[in-house]
């Protein structure tokens, strides 16, 4: 049953409900009024909005903005949350600072806290050179393996972290690989021979024509003082073990020759002044448990 077009009656005959009076092509809209409280909710929302504008920062001004009644700011809220987090972590942080490195590794709770904290600090400070998981890169040691230039005990790692290597710290670890070629200490043929000899120490295949005899002689006279007579290295002065399978710069002959010619000396910053003692402890434990200790 439809309404006849242009019917002046505003009541819909079929439902008995009033219409709004609006008409589109003979179709009229039934008027189902909204409850009045719904309208009041709209008014209440408007009032709320004004209240909100007064209480919270709201209106942008030329060089500032309205600060609100209580001066709330998102920046301060974050600072407060961070402070609360620090306070919440304080007991564990204090326990970490009080415990020795060995104690930390023996206590499951401290170990897991130190590893979590160390992982975060590693990502912030160490990952740019050593990689996100400490995998290392050319010239930047892989911290997961069992080969350590400056020894890999907890205390050694902690000392390296604190004072750095060839850093500005007076207690920094310093070792020196001379530039044998560049400084004219060795002739190019001697460099080539000793490079072949060094590569052979770790079982790498060398050229059949390589003069290993000369190489051994050159090694004994120039290199054994730091790298040891058998080439096993001396960790106290950061001289690498040449007999293992790990090559910081690469094991091909050109790279080894380059190292002998120009010398090597990577730098690790001293974190002692920049990170607090607890963070350095956490980092030492984290790096130690990356696997360098052999599990």
């Amino acid at each position: 049953m439809s309404i006849a077009p242009h019917d002046p009656s505003p009541i819909d005959a079929h439902t008995g409900t009033a219409t709004t009076g609006h008409e589109w092509d003979g179709i009229r809209e039934l008027n189902t009024p909204l409850p009045r409280w719904w309208l009041y909710m709209l008014y209440a929302s408007i009032v709320w909005a004004f209240g909100y504008m007064i209480v919270y920062p709201a209106v942008p001004l030329v060089s500032s903005y309205t600060k609100g009644l209580f001066g709330w700011s998102a920046r301060r809220a974050v600072a407060e949350e961070l402070a609360a987090l620090t306070a919440q972590r304080a007991p564990m942080v204090n326990a970490l600072a009080a415990a020795s490195l060995t104690e930390i590794e023996k206590d499951p709770k401290l170990l897991s806290f130190a590893r979590a904290q160390g992982k975060a600090a590693f990502g912030d400070n160490c990952a740019p050179c050593h990689g996100a998981g400490g995998g290392g890169a050319k010239a930047f040691p892989n911290l997961n393996d069992d080969d350590w230039l400056w020894a890999g005990t907890l205390e050694d790692i902690s000392a390296t972290l604190t004072h750095g290597i060839r850093s500005a710290d007076p207690q920094a670890r310093v070792g020196n690989m001379p530039a044998f070629g560049a400084d004219g200490l060795l002739k190019p043929a001697e460099v080539s021979a000793v490079a072949d000899y060094a590569r052979s120490l770790s079982g790498l295949a060398v050229d059949a024509k390589a003069d290993l005899k000369t190489g051994a002689k050159v090694f004994e006279e120039n290199c054994a003082a730091c790298h040891g007579p058998e080439g096993k290295g001396i960790q106290e002065i950061g001289a690498p073990n040449l007999t293992d399978q790990i090559w910081l710069y690469g094991s091909d002959k050109a790279t080894v020759v380059e190292g002998i010619n120009k010398g090597r000396g990577g730098v690790m910053p001293n974190w002692g002044g920049r990170l607090d003692a607890g963070t350095i402890k956490a980092l030492a434990v984290y790096v130690h448990t990356l696997g360098g200790s052999g599990g």
Partner: protein, 495 residues
């Protein structure tokens, strides 16, 4: 006069102009008390559901020394949900999905069988509103008295009664909020702490919110929640079919309606007369203020109280009951056509489908709950570096593993790699186990993260970088006492 009639009248009065009113004020409803079968069912459900709600947090359930002893507990702080013998961890939240599917299907099934059973009997809004009406009736009297008092305005008596009524409402509302927070902490402890003003601020805030909501929704909003705010009436109207039982006025029997005298006279003169004596009882008892004789409508929550009211009147005037009764649309049409009505068909394709979905989903949930392990292992291979070459040339891969112990005692697990003979398996924080595998101890109802190293001998010369770079391996986590084993697949990467 029903809400609809009232509104229609209001609208009609204002509609003299070109445009009708855009807003309408609420017509206050004064439902009259009624006795009968459906009222008794509603009382029983009210007592049962509210009883469960208020008492459940206090039921104890022994889970051993390292777990809470509350039967139903949502432990937000420790991320656990306890329901009697079931404990749910956050990663098992899919059980909640299952529950939601079950709830939806149960609602659809109820609707397919008997319309808005949920609205009329089970919905918290209905139950609490019903309770608030009962309190109102107890203090201020039945419909007639309340209407008179409302008309008379404030006197000392009405004021005192209103004061008592609102106080009683607030007490109920407060208990509602109070019971709510008990589901989130150890109930007896929390009650003691709340009573001695040492409870957590969050508990007081939630009690206040729920007290206000209950008081406001059951005391003031009432049927408007169903009419204007709830989506279910809209969805329900789209889901229902002509075979669903609904509270229905049999207008083929009732019309033309008229007073007893008038209809008796009509009958005497040989004209047709219906059974409806137009006593308006079905309207005055209705908690949403509708007139069921206008047929199915969105405001009707189908609580059945009009059936009770009508049956009482029919019995009094000596006519058969059931003028208003649960009936199907198809029968309404059959009766209109003068044909005999059909018996209610509960077993229909859609009810069978809903029941089947409930059965399947419930069955899957029960099966997974019954067969799930008390321990779990997840393994993640290191991404940087993918492998580590050790100084002797052997290759080591590192994995971060997380072990879950879902029992309430500490357990010792050995971490094995059975299917890929490695040289060595080690784990951070582990001890050497009896079988040579690393053994990790996981605390009660906890997880433990560790780092596992798997080492393989130096690869033979000339191999690598082709088909030898990636091998499958499986980690097995074995409980040293029970032998329960869970597995996780991963890979071993070679240069």
């Amino acid at each position: 006069m029903s809400v609809k009639q009232q509104q229609a009248k209001e609208v009609a009065l204002e509609a003299a102009g070109a445009e009708g009113p855009l807003y309408s004020s609420r017509t206050k409803i004064y439902p009259q008390s009624v006795h009968g079968k459906f009222r008794r069912i509603k009382w029983a459900i009210l007592i049962l559901t509210l009883g469960i709600y208020y008492i459940l947090p206090f039921i104890r359930w022994d889970r051993g020394p390292n777990a809470p002893a509350q039967a139903v507990l949502v432990d937000l702080e420790h991320h656990r949900f306890y329901f009697f013998f079931i404990e749910i961890w956050p990663q098992e939240v899919y059980y909640l999905t299952g529950l939601l599917i079950l709830a939806a299907m149960a609602l659809f099934l109820m609707n397919a069988v008997a319309g808005r059973v949920w609205c009329g009997y089970l919905c918290p809004q209905t139950v609490w509103t019903d309770l608030f009406y009962a309190v109102e009736r107890l203090i201020e009297g039945d419909r007639r008295e309340r209407m008179q008092k409302a008309q008379k305005g404030w006197t000392l008596e009405t004021f005192a009664q209103a004061l008592i009524k609102h106080w009683a409402w607030l007490m109920i509302a407060w208990w509602t909020g109070g019971a709510w927070v008990l589901y989130f902490a150890d109930a007896p402890t929390l009650v003691y702490n709340l009573a001695t003003f040492q409870g957590p601020a969050m508990a007081y805030i939630w009690i206040a919110i729920l007290t206000f909501m209950t008081y406001f929704f059951a005391g003031f909003m009432r049927e408007q929640v169903c009419t204007y705010m709830c989506p279910w009436p809209r969805i329900q109207a789209a889901l229902t079919d002509e075979y669903a039982l609904n509270v229905t006025y049999r207008y083929d029997r009732g019309e033309p309606r008229g007073s007893v005298k008038k209809n008796a006279a009509l009958l005497a003169s040989g004209s047709p007369a219906g059974d409806c004596v137009d006593c308006n009882q079905c309207v005055v008892v209705c908690p949403t203020g509708v007139d069921i004789r206008e047929g199915l409508q969105i405001d009707c929550i189908q609580c059945g109280l009009c059936i009770d009211a009508c049956d009482n009147v029919m019995t009094k005037v000596g006519k058969p009951t059931g003028l208003i009764a649960y009936d199907t649309d198809i029968n309404v049409k059959l009766r209109e056509a003068g044909k005999p009505p059909l018996a209610a068909r509960i077993l229909r394709p859609r009810t069978i489908l809903y029941a089947a979905i409930i059965g399947v989903v419930g069955g899957i949930m029960a099966f997974t709950l019954a067969t799930r392990m008390d321990s779990g292992i997840s393994v993640m291979h290191d991404r940087n570096p993918l492998f580590t070459r050790l100084s002797d040339g052997s290759i080591r891969n590192a994995y971060t593993i997380r072990i879950a112990n879902k029992q309430t005692d500490p357990r010792r697990f050995e971490v094995r790699v059975d299917d890929y003979e490695p040289t060595q398996v080690e784990a951070i924080g582990a001890e050497k186990g009896p079988n040579g595998w690393p053994v990790l101890t996981v605390g009660p109802d906890q997880t433990l993260e560790s780092r596992v190293f798997v080492t393989r001998p130096r690869p033979a010369a000339g191999k690598g970088n082709d088909d030898h770079d990636r091998h499958d391996l499986t980690f097995s986590l074995g409980d040293l006492v029970t032998g329960e084993t869970v597995k996780a697949k991963d890979h071993f990467m070679m240069p």
